[in-house]
Point group: C2
Chain length 686, copies 2
């Protein structure tokens, strides 16, 4: 991949210098209203912001938007696809047919899905910083996390209809308490055929022009009734115009724009290559598993999509990290920031030299990351059965301690979410879990090396393949009643269990926890402390004119519907259904979904399908409502281009593009392909 000369100029605008127009994943309590209105020629205000915030829904790790007064949520098909799979069987496969109820009565609950609306943001920086003051290493990490748990518990108590979350912003520069209204009865209201949402498959993923109706509807329920949501976003199905202002409100997962160059070098040399290499092998294993027969193909579909998505995102990031101009721009910005700090004696005195601290820490990161990644970050290899077993075992152990002393994910304020996931009824396919576990165990042994004493603890005398087979085939955790009994029974039930996965999780607690503790003490804590110093310096130099790195929490970004030019190639801002018919070859993954294809004559070829926007989004923004200046919904964000993947490290206004499916396209599909007149009526479409 080669690079436009523009990059060298634009890279200079990256954090920590002042943000470029259209750059930024802003928190709702620090959104630059004036700047946005100036850049876009709009006139949004605080009321507009509040309305948009309350119509924005977090769904698991993704996003959605309320679009009717009766709790209807627009999101992406790929956000809802786990639910679609869970509700499907090989015989009645909604993945293939779409899920198209003719009335609300036919809507079906998505196992384990939780939706949240952000209702309040409170500053808790002083409390959090005080909690860690004077501490270091593991004590620092634990004290911070105990304080967060305490704040959350104080604010939300045992109220399961709310969730409280202490959010770390600016890498420790700010801490905010986010309070959410929480909905645990989320039902599938509509999904198109998966092929309609994923036309082009992995090949067109992170691509544009794109031709995907990646949309689905969920509905929030409470007490068996749809939730009343008067503050919804009005559905605007008019064809979107080029350069039209657009806002995207959602929960982008993670960016690393505030990392120092030394930290980014570790990403480039150590962490990302490790992840890409071994995930690439998992991809191969899953593809071959799926090739074996139709049942396997059905079972592995979601896992394959997930790994291919991760892989391609990583690929785009690797490309950006070897883009010498892009990285030079970033280095220059860092040098300028350091120079400004160096020129301020008082500031220098206050923060010391966190850049050098972080640089000196990197060999330790490189040494400890592989073990941490394999034994904690990637433990279980994605196996659903493993994840349940881990929640059961760790949950039972942690619940015996005061909330503040637990692993943070099992603090009182977070247990409801854990329980919700554990007790959901969803199908399991142990053959898939066996592939994932065998991969994880064998890669762990390979990466840590066979002589690492932790390997003997994990494997005992078994081979990775043998152990994986024994665990996946022997466990009874696929039965929700078994999980409920173990969860309710607490540690005594866990210890008494003869389930092989439970026993395995018990056996590896020492080794996995020790690995985590070492990483937190020797890497995470010193990183957090240095990052906090950097954040202080950043505030001192730039004030809050900056936005924080994405943290999976609600953000608002703005931009315009725009194409771009790259290596002389001009990419227009929008695609049409006509383009879809043209790109279709009939062969997978370029075969049009049958019901959509059957509507070909009824959908005008010029109907706009997907559009690109210069908004600043990243994974997690999937399903985010795209909103016009009047607060109407005009689409749902579902992707960004592969060139945009560099936006993990910096925003590039020339190349950064979100990809949205338009309300125009969704309306046409609902009407002409899927016969969803009751939904169209609810959306107010004439």
């Amino acid at each position: 991949m080669r690079h436009s000369r523009l990059l060298i100029a634009t890279a200079l605008t990256m954090i920590p210098a002042a943000a470029a127009a259209e750059e930024g994943m802003w928190t709702f309590d620090n959104f630059p209203i004036a700047a946005a209105n100036r850049d876009l020629g709009t006139s949004i205000d605080q009321k507009w912001l509040d309305k948009v915030r309350l119509a924005s829904v977090r769904i698991g790790g993704a996003s959605g938007g309320l679009v009717s007064p009766d709790g209807l949520v627009l999101t992406n098909e790929h956000v809802a696809s786990g639910c679609v799979e869970d509700l499907s069987t090989p015989e009645r496969n909604y993945v293939q047919t779409g899920f198209t109820p003719q009335s609300r009565a036919e809507e079906r609950k998505c196992p384990g899905t939780v939706a949240e609306v952000l209702t309040a943001i409170t500053d808790v920086t002083a409390r959090m910083q005080a909690a860690g003051a004077g501490l270091s290493g593991e004590a620092f990490t634990r004290a911070r996390s105990a304080e967060a748990g305490k704040i959350e518990a104080e604010a939300c108590g045992a109220d399961k209809s709310r969730r409280c979350q202490v959010v770390t912003l600016y890498r420790g520069g700010q801490f905010k308490l986010y309070t959410y209204r929480r909905y645990t009865d989320v039902r599938l209201a509509f999904a198109p055929e998966h092929r309609a949402a994923a036309f082009g498959g992995d090949l067109d993923n992170f691509a544009f022009p794109r031709f995907a109706v990646d949309a689905a509807f969920l509905r929030l329920y409470e007490n068996g009734q749809p939730v009343k949501t008067p503050g919804y976003l009005r559905w605007n199905a008019a064809p979107p115009q080029e350069n039209q202002p657009v806002f995207v409100s959602g929960s982008p997962g993670a960016t690393q724009r505030l990392l120092t160059q030394a930290q980014l070098r570790t990403v480039q040399d150590v962490t990302l290559p490790l992840e890409q290499l071994i995930n690439s092998e998992l991809r191969g294993r899953l593809l071959q598993f799926a090739a074996q027969n139709e049942q396997n193909a059905f079972v592995a579909g979601q896992a394959i999509s997930g790994i291919e998505n991760t892989y391609k995102r990583g690929f785009g990031r690797q490309q950006s990290l070897i883009d010498q101009r892009f990285m030079a721009g970033r280095a220059k910005a860092e040098a300028e920031f350091r120079a400004r700090v160096a020129a301020d004696a008082a500031l220098r005195q206050l923060i010391g030299d966190p850049w050098t601290e972080l640089a000196n820490l990197q060999p330790e990161v490189a040494r400890l990351y592989p073990g941490y990644y394999m034994l904690e970050g990637r433990a279980g290899g994605g196996s659903q059965l493993y994840n349940w077993a881990e929640d059961l075992v760790r949950g039972a152990i942690e619940k015996t301690k005061p909330s503040g002393e637990r692993l943070p994910e099992y603090g009182d304020a977070r247990l409801a979410a854990v329980e919700n996931g554990l007790l959901a009824t969803r199908p399991t396919y142990p053959a898939l879990d066996e592939v994932q576990l065998a991969w994880w165990l064998s890669k762990t042994r390979e990466i840590l090396t066979v002589d690492d004493p932790r390997i003997a603890q994990v494997l005992g005398k078994e081979s990775p393949e043998g152990l994986a087979a024994r665990l996946a085939r022997g466990t009874k955790l696929g039965d929700p009643a078994v999980r409920k009994a173990l969860w309710d029974g607490g540690l005594p039930a866990i210890k008494a269990s003869t389930d092989p996965l439970i026993q395995f999780l018990l056996r590896i607690q020492d080794v996995t926890r020790a690995t985590r503790t070492e990483y937190e003490a020797k890497v995470q804590a010193p990183t957090d402390r240095a990052s906090e110093a950097l954040a202080k310096a950043r505030f001192a130099v730039f004030g809050t004119s900056l936005y924080p790195d994405a943290t999976g929490t609600l953000r608002l970004t703005y931009g315009r519907l725009r194409g771009w030019t790259y290596q002389g190639r001009v990419i227009p801002y929008a695609t049409t259904f006509g383009g879809l018919w043209q790109r279709a070859t009939g062969a997978e993954p370029f075969d049009v979904a049958p019901r959509l294809l059957a509507a070909k004559d009824r959908i005008p070829a010029s109907t706009i399908l997907d559009v690109a926007a210069s908004t600043d989004t990243i994974g997690g923004s999937s399903g985010s409502p795209a909103i016009n200046a009047k607060g109407e919904i005009i689409g749902a964000n579902f992707d960004s281009t592969v060139l945009t993947q560099r936006n993990a490290y910096g925003y590039d206004p020339e190349l950064n593009r979100s990809v949205l499916v338009t309300t125009t396209a969704i309306t046409a599909a609902l009407r002409h392909a899927y016969g969803q007149s009751h939904l169209l009526a609810e959306l107010g479409v004439r």
Copy 2:
């Protein structure tokens, strides 16, 4: 991986500065006899060299050594394992049982195996350089390759008992004609159980301490009789001593020590990551294929070993490329070399600035390499059926042209080797070919992107999976009689063939050849020209006190049997059978081979098994005879450590270690485990 402080010092001794003691893969016509004798305290002479050369055997891409007057060759089991597999069936599986004939009469021909002994080296530099003078781009490449074909044809003619090869040394600084005595009847005389040779499997591959009896015997035949080889290496089974001098004579495949820093950056950023990522996926596919059932495990064994070997070698190289001290040493050496050239006005005038030329070329390399790698370098994904089809189709097309105008691998002097591979009788397993082809086709589409017009030519309207299935299942090329008929029938037979693989190869000729031509013209030719200028400068500054990069041709390297120290850990020079029994867990891959295990009580635990040596070897050196100062064989090289993989780019005397299986260990195994008394008698062991 962290790095010893030694590196910064030792890296400075890398090429192009003068070589360190024990560094160097020397050609036999420029071996530094005096230096070696001085470094080692030995007294070898030209006669010694000649004897060793004539006792060194090239076997495919690997090496071996003559050890009896009757054509007996010691090599590695992993070199012979393709033959062992070819001779095996799932019912009679020599891979599992070992191949242990009780007399010569039971020795069996290895399908397609060719052995070669280097009989003469002649300088042809002037002719080759004259052929390319004044030309550039494709014309330069073609003229050179035509001249090489002409030289080879003149020297060897149609004599199939000889092979002539023009070898490019010093990246174009020298050209030598190598003449080989060629043997096409190579029989398997002994192989241990594969598990004995591969104890520890992929996990211990590139590791030391190591416990592998990676040895096998082949025998050269002619006219149905063993070849008389009076100049063999005498078998010395005495326990080897620490620090004992050792010479290793074999055919190391390829090093890249003469690459500039700019070229190496492309290796780090572009070529190696691409290869590692997609090969990692193939590894996953093959592992899952093998996990399906025992038949598949049998079928895929060799392919999995190969890909895991490639992967781990690449992993070691990636680690060295991010070793900032190692690379800084290399950068410093380059800067010094450039400075010496810059200080010599006449030299500067003569060679220009090849460093800058090469640096400027790198974006083009990055742009063209992926297509070249996918459509030429990796075409077919390792499928045996594909490789045959390619040789049939390209061979037929090329044979219609004068030798000098053909693709060089089908020049007159090289056709015998092609034919030998094509007509060999060996089993095929289309299910494996289908996996390899599906991987190759799908990765080609992904890497080139679906919108690359070449993809439409390769895939037509088919999916990678559908096409792979159609080709692998439909082809008849598994039948040697079919291949013979097509080979003998030439282009008319090929064009008339309805075999789907033949038709496919015909269809993709345009696109693959155009890709190759473009790469040769825009990357290879300018690289070759700049490299030749660098070679000239190198000769001017350093004379022939340097050795050339490895090129898969015969080299001699010297060193001592030595352990090393890394990160405070002291690794001794040798392992013993006692260590093997200790490391064995009983679980694969740490289960001792049954016949070897049965001999446990008869083999003294102190018997030396494998040793490490500071000789300078790399992939291709597998099976190279390890020879003492008296010209006796004391072992066979079979591996190097993962830290040694950096020796692709530079030799590091502190860490560079070859791994050898000793004659001591082989003798013990032949006697106590495998009952090979007739071989022991032939080796002169009392």
